[in-house]
């Protein structure tokens, strides 16, 4: 076996090591923590490239591109539970993406978090996050994946709540952890169910793994009491975990609030990598997700994949609708992320692993770029996050503007940018879906909205003149918690960020621009790499299978979105921060509903949270009054018993039921001198009761 396969564990272990060291480092060890995190991530990136090269080499030599390494972990019963890691194209692609984007964001953070007093801790958490995320990627065991998955959840919690002194950040962190855990519990049940059905949690194990044909066939042959196929049941339970982690409807509510964390965190965790873990999970267990008892030759889609598609389509549309009516620069991007994650899920559902994963990879680059750009803007605007108060930043921060524009066009799916190719594939697959056309129309409408809200944001932020008032900048100076907001500089003037922040931006924008060319219909390298299928350059592919019409339509949609955005926000410069929103004016009530994200938070607060609080109060009340009342009754019964048995005095006890009771009684006497407690009395009662019942039993026995 190849060196890199055996040592794949080093990729997550190095950042873990860095996190461990910096956890023990004092706050002053800033340089140490940052260099450890960046250094370990750099080496992991190089190792990830090795792994990628290894898979490429295997592929070019015609060998199987999947290799794994399993080891026993612990023993229970007559079995050992084994863990392991697997290197295949999916692992390789994700490893390179996460280590590369992560590395750039770590570097960006050095500048961004420069003035934070908990700088050391920040890099500790970042490194721990990277380690857990890389663990999720390489796991060859659903259990190991789940464990890393939960630690990813922990680091997300720690980083969202990084500015712990802000109550809103602490609340958002808790909300994120709890909401994702709601999805994780069905996931957990899915794991134990799968384990009990297949006897293994390893994905691949020379034919004995849970994702290999033997196990899948077994799962398909079983049905539950309700008639559901066991494979479907398990797949749906596992998908619940993905819904929570990837902010899918209806568990999306935590993701916008997660923007309370520092912006690099939003970029790395809540846009590029962690939230994609759910999408990755579905891709990883795809053989299980797509398993169905179909008739040979008839095109069918498994129930689980139908669920994935519908949830994805709803989320894509929902996120983009809500993003239209937001004013916080980061919340717009957050809802955009929700929407794009929905796209990825939909892609997995309608098109398969390669389609969903391709969008995951391109999105990771341009969305990280958007968030880092937003961070740079917030940094430059002294912590202001309201787009109505920005404006005119194009001239003041030219590098940020240029990179932001590239990322924005990529997100919109502007022809030839990376997002264009990946999004188009999803739409194309949805167009050909055998179940329903509706997801296609939902996706297409979401694409229109995406182009529109991004144009709106860009005009608000970059065009016209600055609407940043003197008060904003002054207020953030005097506020003792000003460092809580995303800003650290003393100067109120808008300024371009330092090179440590702009260089990562530039690098990411190159990828946002070019990455799509690895997966065009004419040269679908990415798809063939993931599917392990042959690859050929074929420009004729554009003309086949209705690709070109879909492409043209989605291009038109993008232009329409951009045009509408310009019509509402670009034609006339926005002059005042107080002016009502151009679209909001059309129908204020709808705009308000969108602005509040369809009031899902309020709905959950009024239903689930309230029910939960109510249940806890009822439990507490039952405990205090009902169950405790029972105890009090028993206590008084015992006291009554004590009076009845008063005639059984000490010497009856001492004359000895047996030696043991004497011991008890003696200790009681000794201790009772310490405190006029009534222990002895109770011991007497016990002994007395014993004697009475012994006599009774003996008598019965004789009779």
């Amino acid at each position: 076996m190849n060196w890199i396969v055996e040592n794949l564990w080093l990729i997550p272990a190095l950042p873990l090591f860095a996190a461990g060291i910096s956890a023990l480092t004092k706050q002053k060890g800033r340089k140490l923590a940052a260099s450890l995190a960046i250094g370990s991530m750099g080496i992991s990136f190089l190792l990830a490239l090795c792994a990628f090269a290894h898979v490429l080499a295997l592929r070019s030599s015609g060998q199987a591109t999947q290799q794994f390494f399993n080891f026993p972990w612990f023993q229970f019963g007559n079995d050992w539970l084994s863990l392991g890691w697997v290197l295949n194209p999916l692992t390789a692609v994700m490893l390179v993406m996460v280590t590369f984007v992560g590395l750039l964001i770590f570097i960006f953070s050095v500048g961004y978090m420069e003035h934070d007093e908990n700088f050391t801790r920040f890099f500790c958490f970042l490194a721990l996050f990277a380690s857990a995320m890389l663990g999720v990627i390489i796991s060859n065991s659903l259990l190991l994946l789940f464990m890393c998955w939960e630690i990813v959840g922990l680091t997300s919690y720690l980083l969202i709540g990084f500015w712990y002194f802000k109550p809103s950040a602490a609340a958002a962190a808790k909300k994120a952890f709890i909401t994702t855990r709601i999805g994780d519990l069905p996931f957990f049940l899915g794991i134990v169910w799968l384990y009990s059905q297949t006897g293994t949690l390893l994905f691949y194990n020379n034919g004995a793994g849970a994702l290999e044909p033997a196990a899948i066939t077994h799962l398909l042959s079983q049905t539950t009491a309700t008639g559901m196929c066991v494979a479907t049941g398990i797949a749906l339970l596992i998908f619940c975990g993905a819904i929570g982690k990837s902010g899918q409807f209806p568990l999306h509510v935590w993701l916008p609030d997660a923007m309370e964390g520092p912006t690099p965190v939003s970029a790395l965790i809540h846009a590029a990598t962690m939230v994609a873990a759910g999408v990755f999970l579905v891709a990883r267990v795809y053989p299980l997700m797509s398993a169905h008892n179909g008739v040979a030759g008839v095109l069918t889609t498994s129930t689980a994949l139908q669920a994935v598609t519908w949830i994805g389509a709803i989320t894509a549309l929902f996120g983009s609708l809500v993003a239209v009516a937001q004013f916080d620069i980061k919340r717009i991007l957050a809802y955009s992320t929700v929407s794009q994650l929905g796209y990825m899920m939909m892609g997995l559902g309608v098109g398969g692993v390669a389609v969903g994963m391709f969008h995951l990879i391109t999105h990771a680059f341009f969305k990280a770029l958007l968030f880092l750009g937003a961070g740079s803007i917030i940094h430059g605007c002294s912590g202001e996050q309201d787009i109505r108060k920005m404006g005119g930043i194009r001239k003041l921060m030219p590098i940020t503007f240029a990179t932001y524009a590239i990322a924005m066009l990529a997100l919109c799916g502007f022809p030839l940018f990376s997002g264009f190719w990946s999004k188009d594939e999803i739409l194309h697959a949805a167009h050909h879906w055998n179940i329903s056309q509706l997801p296609y129309y939902m996706g297409a409408f979401a694409a229109l909205l995406t182009a529109f809200y991004m144009t709106r944001q860009v005009f608000y932020v970059f065009a016209g003149r600055s609407r940043l008032t003197q008060e904003t900048t002054d207020a953030s100076h005097t506020d003792p918690h000003a460092h809580a907001a995303d800003h650290h500089h003393g100067s109120g003037a808008i300024h371009e960020s330092p090179a440590v922040m702009t260089v990562p931006l530039a690098l990411l924008s190159v990828f946002a621009l070019l990455l799509g060319f690895f997966g065009t219909p004419a040269w679908p390298w990415f798809q063939s790499f993931l599917d392990d299928s042959p690859l050929a350059v074929n420009f004729g592919a554009f003309g086949e299978g209705g690709i070109l019409p879909v492409m043209l339509i989605s291009s038109l949609i993008v232009f329409l979105g951009l045009g509408l955005g310009w019509y509402f926000y670009g034609r006339r410069p926005i002059v005042s921060a107080e002016a009502p929103d151009a679209v909001g004016k059309l129908s204020p009530s709808i705009f308000t509903v969108l602005g509040h994200a369809f009031y899902f938070d309020a709905l959950y607060a009024a239903t689930f949270i309230r029910l939960n609080t109510l249940l806890s109060k009822i439990s507490d009340w039952l405990d205090r009054w009902v169950w405790n009342g029972a105890v009090k009754t028993i206590t008084s019964l015992v006291f009554g018993f004590a009076h009845l048995d008063n005639f059984l005095d000490t010497h009856v006890v001492n004359s000895g039921f047996d030696e043991g009771c004497e011991g008890v009684s003696l200790s009681g006497q000794v201790l009772s001198r310490l405190q006029a407690g009534r222990v002895q009395g109770y011991l007497k009662i016990v002994a007395g009761a014993l004697i009475v019942f012994t006599i009774l039993l003996l008598w019965k026995a004789r009779a």
Binding site: A23, W73, F74, Q75, F76, G77, N78, F146, M147, C148, I151, L154, Y157, G161, Y164, F165, P167, A170, A171, A173, K174, F177, I178, R181, L185, F188, L189, V192, W193, S196, N612, L615, S616, K617, I618, S619, D620, L622, D623, W627, N628, A630, V631, D658, G660, V664, G668, L674, Q675, G677, R678, V679, Y682, I685, V686, A689, F693, L697, L698, A701
Partner: protein, 523 residues
């Protein structure tokens, strides 16, 4: 019995060491408190050392009990002094040996009647060791009951303002349970003329126990099944109160809250395991046919224990009450798995494998809960020491700013309690769910609600105590001292070690788990 009958009396020595320590501490008198504390700690260290020797020389592949001691005691009653441990007993001894020093360290700040306090702690340790090693009901019961006395005085004399009431409730409640249990065993003794656990269990498994009891004590008003159930519920009550199982749990929160935190460490860390131990050692082997008859009821009780105690914890405002209910919740998972193991499976090989998983999960969960809960109450003790006794959820806020190391380490213990993978709590819960799910699917599925609610209230504690703006009056709170950090290192280290490599424990207890699950009556 594969081992030679009377090995070197390690277990008797282990039982006696803390008692000798208690006498030594009393003899020292109250003039030099520092000396008293260190002497007590030294004796607990000796116990730990002996336990580690046992751990090291234990043969984890052998059947039956090891380090056995068997001496005739009261021939007329057929009572013998029989000691021995299997993997379960050994694990409980290790837990006791770890928890007692933690309890002592958490009691370091006690200034009143110091010798008596530490003497009682050491006496309690003797009782615990006795309970975990006795193989004859007779002296097992003596230790079981004796344990109440030091616990009662520890709560009564050093507890908070409501301690008199709480201690009395604790005593009365557990004693009622014990009396019921004692009566059941007297009935069994009268029918079988033995108090030996192994012998009674053998009769229980081959189906001769209850017919013997009915033949001897049959009552014309009760059918044989009813007699069997009455006997079972008598024994059941004793253990259900001790664990505690819902709805016999109401003594626990007030006792845990009123006891000095150092004592709560002992109560939750070690004493609460006596009940679960009893379920495993006594109830399950002897009464599994009866448990199968009322399995649905038992499962509902376990689910109620898990879910309702978690919900009740969420409603509490006192840190100690929160973790008292959390303690009930965690042991509820043990009971869920024990009842799942009791399920009648007619020898199905696949389901028997699930029972192995569940059983191992119970063992791990017992140890992990003991370690984690003890550590949490230790942290509360340290917090009380700094704040002069404040422990209300709303008394604090933003403490992370002034005591970051404390926050970090207590955070680790809190996440361990939450069951975060990588820390000790997770694998036990995983094995419990993994084993119970195929056996009792509905009960296991309902119990996951407990996992969610636990996360909610634990994160609530972090949010209210450590996050948010700092309350002014805590601005000068001192962080952990070097001594405190050094004593915490091994405990926190153990949490990580067991989380990353659970084989440390499973390798030792697995064989016992298999034996216990496989010997259950299944026909």
């Amino acid at each position: 019995m594969t081992q030679d009958m009377n090995s070197f009396p390690w277990l008797t020595i282990l039982t006696a060491v803390p008692l000798v320590g208690a006498l030594a501490v009393l003899a020292l008198g109250g003039r030099n408190k520092v000396l008293v504390r260190w002497t007590a700690l030294a004796f607990s260290a000796i116990s730990l050392l002996i336990t580690l020797i046992l751990w090291h020389s234990f043969n984890s592949a052998a059947d039956g009990f090891q380090f056995q001691e068997l001496h005739p005691w009261i021939p007329s009653l057929n009572v013998s002094y029989r000691l021995g441990i299997d993997g379960l007993g050994l694990l409980m001894l290790l837990l006791t040996a770890i928890v007692v020093p933690i309890g002592m360290l958490a009691s370091w700040q006690i200034e009143e009647r110091v010798p008596l306090y530490f003497a009682l702690v050491l006496t309690l340790q003797t009782c615990l060791v006795g309970t975990f090693t006795a193989l004859n009901f007779f002296h097992w019961f003596i230790f079981w009951e004796l344990a109440l006395i030091p616990a009662f005085f520890l709560v009564r004399l050093w507890g908070g303002s409501g301690s008199a009431k709480a201690a009395m409730q604790f005593l009365v409640y557990t004693m009622v349970g014990s009396v019921a249990m004692l009566l059941s065993f007297l009935a069994i003794f009268l029918s079988t003329n033995t108090f030996d656990f192994s012998e009674i269990a053998t009769m229980g498994q081959n189906g001769t126990l209850m017919p013997a009891v009915v033949a001897k004590l049959g009552w014309h008003l009760l059918t044989p099944e009813h007699v069997a159930l009455v006997i079972f519920f008598g024994a059941f009550l004793g253990f259900a109160v001790k664990v505690p199982l819902f709805p016999f749990h109401t003594w626990l929160p007030s006792t845990y809250a009123e006891a000095p935190s150092g004592t709560t460490v002992l109560l939750t860390g070690a004493m609460s395991k006596m009940g679960v131990y009893g379920f495993l050692r006594i109830l399950l082997p002897i009464f599994s046919p009866e448990m199968q008859k009322v399995l649905t009821l038992l499962l509902w009780l376990a689910v109620a224990t898990v879910v309702l105690s978690a919900y009740t914890a969420m409603a509490q405002k006192d840190l100690k009450r929160i973790f008292a209910y959390s303690s009930i919740n965690h042991l509820g998972y043990c009971l869920l798995a024990i009842f799942a193991v009791a399920k009648f499976t007619s020898g199905d090989a696949v389901l028997t494998t699930q029972k192995f998983a569940a059983m191992n999960g119970v063992f791990l969960q017992m140890f992990n809960h003991g370690l984690t809960a003890a550590t949490l109450f230790w942290f509360i003790a340290m917090l009380e020491k700094r704040t002069g006794g404040a422990r209300g959820l709303d008394d604090f806020g933003g403490l992370r700013k002034v005591i970051p190391v404390f926050t970090g380490l207590m955070g680790i213990a809190l996440f361990s309690s939450l069951g975060l993978p990588g820390l000790n709590g997770f694998i036990g819960e995983f094995l419990i769910f993994k084993g119970s799910f195929p056996l009792v699917t509905w009960a296991t599925s309902l119990s996951v609600i407990g996992l969610l609610i636990t996360a909610i209230f634990i994160l609530g504690v972090i949010q209210r105590v450590f996050s948010g703006p700092l309350k002014e009056k805590w601005g000068q709170l001192p962080d952990l001292s070097l001594g405190e950090r050094l004593t915490l290192v091994p405990v926190i280290g153990l949490m990580f070690a067991l989380g990353l490599y659970p084989q440390l424990i499973l390798g030792v207890v697995n064989h016992t788990a298999i034996q216990m699950a496989i010997h259950l009556r299944n026909f």
